[in-house]
């Protein structure tokens, strides 16, 4: 355990008056303490600090490190993240070094690892982003919420990092309306873990599951090279309102050639139109941010259905259900919207997603593909990965 008296630094709102609108993202730029700027440190714990008067309104908070050269200034800012006044200079502040969400406990790193921060080679700037969710339009709440970082110059054996697995952010994998449970999966396949993980493998010790508002179940499974399946994280009662980072009860190793199969189940009973994969709050995502060590080449391993196969699907649904799909003149979104969505056509799409060839993005920390890491892989080569069945009793 790490005592509350250990060295720490707070990044908290400066008496922000929470706007009386439903949704506000509030951004504040900070500088790291000079002792951290001087030499590399490890973050060994971080806590969310929610002002008592703001409880129930602070939805989640993230502390981002700015991934810019150390000499580069990041402009001072304190205001809504979405305002046009927000300086472009904050755009590169996206590396998560601390986070809190409704339901989250304090985040304590395993004793052999820490989050990397500080040193002359790194930018000294961080940005706190606080999401206020204020559906009752309460006014006059003065907020000082934020994140507390515990740090140490005695760096531990391993640098921890975050790896993102699941679905690519595009509309190829989308969700029909009026369904109680539609399943999407991302397949981080063996060829990617083979080139992207160290020979000794990695240890995942925490996991943050992420969807937008229609996600109802999320789980990540590891498929070993011998076909055995282990559950990394599972939430059978997932709520997008509780996106805490969870420390795994038991850390789990991932080795080269293992497959990381990340699955989200969505409920679109209240939607009348197709829900697309994408960035907007009305779009959907299916991601697991895995906290692990030691830091690997691989940072993002995500898939979506293969383009040519999706066109074949649009052609087939035209033939069998007279949908006015048109792969020459319509976009993917327009084609999905040309289909008469029923449980029947939805079931066909579900089966298609489970059996169709996929495109796999296997990216390093610079955002580029790892060597060979841009694959159109045919599912027929990986049949087991689509067929696994979860045990009926919850794990963990």
């Amino acid at each position: 355990m790490i005592s509350n008296n250990e060295p720490h630094v707070d990044f908290r709102n400066f008496n922000v008056t929470i706007p009386d609108v439903e949704t506000t993202y509030w951004c504040t730029r900070f500088e790291l303490p000079s002792e951290i700027v001087k030499k590399p440190h490890h973050i060994i714990r971080f806590d969310g600090i929610v002002s008592p008067q703001s409880e129930g309104v602070v939805h989640h908070m993230e502390l981002f490190h700015c991934n810019v050269p150390p000499e580069k200034e990041v402009p001072k800012f304190n205001g809504p993240c979405t305002t046009e006044q927000k300086p472009m200079g904050l755009t590169e502040c996206r590396r998560v070094i601390g986070a809190w969400a409704l339901g989250a406990a304090n985040f304590i790193y395993p004793k052999e690892a820490g989050g990397t921060i500080g040193g002359r080679a790194q930018s000294r700037y961080v940005v706190l982003e606080v999401h206020f969710n204020n559906p009752d339009l309460k006014s006059n709440i003065i907020d000082q919420s934020g994140i507390r970082i515990y740090y140490t110059p005695q760096r531990r054996k391993y640098d921890a990092a975050i790896m993102e697995v699941g679905l690519e952010y595009n509309s190829k994998n989308s969700i029909p309306p009026h369904l109680a449970a539609f399943r999407l999966s991302g397949y981080c396949l063996g060829p990617c873990t083979n080139v992207g993980l160290p020979e000794t493998g990695i240890t995942v010790f925490a996991s943050q599951l992420h969807t937008h508002s229609t996600g109802v179940q999320v789980f990540t499974r590891i498929i070993r090279t011998d076909g055995k399946i282990e559950i990394l994280n599972i939430d059978r009662h997932y709520s997008p309102h509780f996106q805490e980072i969870r420390i795994l009860q038991k850390p789990i190793q991932i080795y080269r050639n293992d497959t990381i199969l990340h699955t989200c189940i969505y409920n679109t009973l209240r939607r009348d139109d197709m829900t697309f994969g994408g960035y907007s709050i009305h779009d959907e995502m299916c991601v697991n941010y895995m906290h692990y060590y030691p830091k690997a080449e691989l940072e993002l391993c995500k898939t979506s259905v293969n383009d040519a196969s999706l066109n074949e699907f649009f052609l087939a649904i035209h033939k069998v259900d007279y949908a006015l799909t048109d792969t020459t003149h319509k976009t993917v979104e327009e084609n999905y919207e040309s289909i008469r969505w029923t449980p029947l056509t939805s079931a066909i799409l579900q089966t298609f997603y489970e059996e169709a060839p996929i495109h796999l993005s296997c990216n390093g920390s610079n955002g580029n593909y790892l060597p060979g890491g841009n694959w159109d892989i045919y599912s027929a080569q990986e049949p087991l990965q689509r067929d696994v069945v979860l045990p009926s009793r919850c794990h963990q």
Copy 2:
């Protein structure tokens, strides 16, 4: 062979002027020759006789024996079968004793069997029905077409008879529109052949396949109790315009507990609405009239999908495709018409027909069920019968 000089009698039209309309059924009542009336005979051959001037217009002809008590008069008649002037007394004249259709050869019984006719216990009346198909509306053709019966008082070892297998004449099994090939099958199952056939089995020596206008392939298979499958009759290029009775190249035995699986494939590309099973020329049938000996208890062995299962289908298609089916307030026909027929929903119906429980009518010659012969049989008990695959090369 039976020489043309053997005793015979002709039942031919008396100089009928073929009406200049597309479709005419012409009916003529005859009396059998007195020597036949006096004692039971065997029919050993029958020929179609088409007047030269009527060739191409005479579509098919059938000679029916009247199944009424011998003392009962059947009124004299010579006119269109469908006119209201046709006496009701002809209604019972339905037992086929001779037939000809476009493409038919002379029908010669196997030497050990003959068709039953004559004797004091039988009616002396027969009715000839000639179907004129005159789409060119030709006029002034005087027709003397009909059927010639060869008979003998030296009766052979076995009485021949006709058994009807295939689908029941109702709308439960129906055909969606706009399909190149939709399959319907009737299943004369082991429990029926077990109670309806003699212990020594029967020998089928001829077969008449029958559908209405959308039939394109018809075949009958025998499934033995050991699972082996034999083809009784197959027409991969079936035309409803050539409904001849075919003498089988090789007679085939059917034993107790064998299954007789009769299948028809329909093409409804030119239809915009559902084609129902039924009697009308716009409805469809799927039947094989098998000529066999010795005469058995079983005369009709036909199936259709089980009522409760069909209701479950209508309920399911409401759920999965939002069809406005309603098993409480709509008829079977109305429910079929409530479905949006696409290749997809049609494929579901096809699978349903192949896998759903069935009702089996197992009837004797009096039209009543044989003992136990009214079954709702679950297909799960007979899985093999739905899965058989035809050889790719034609037999016969």
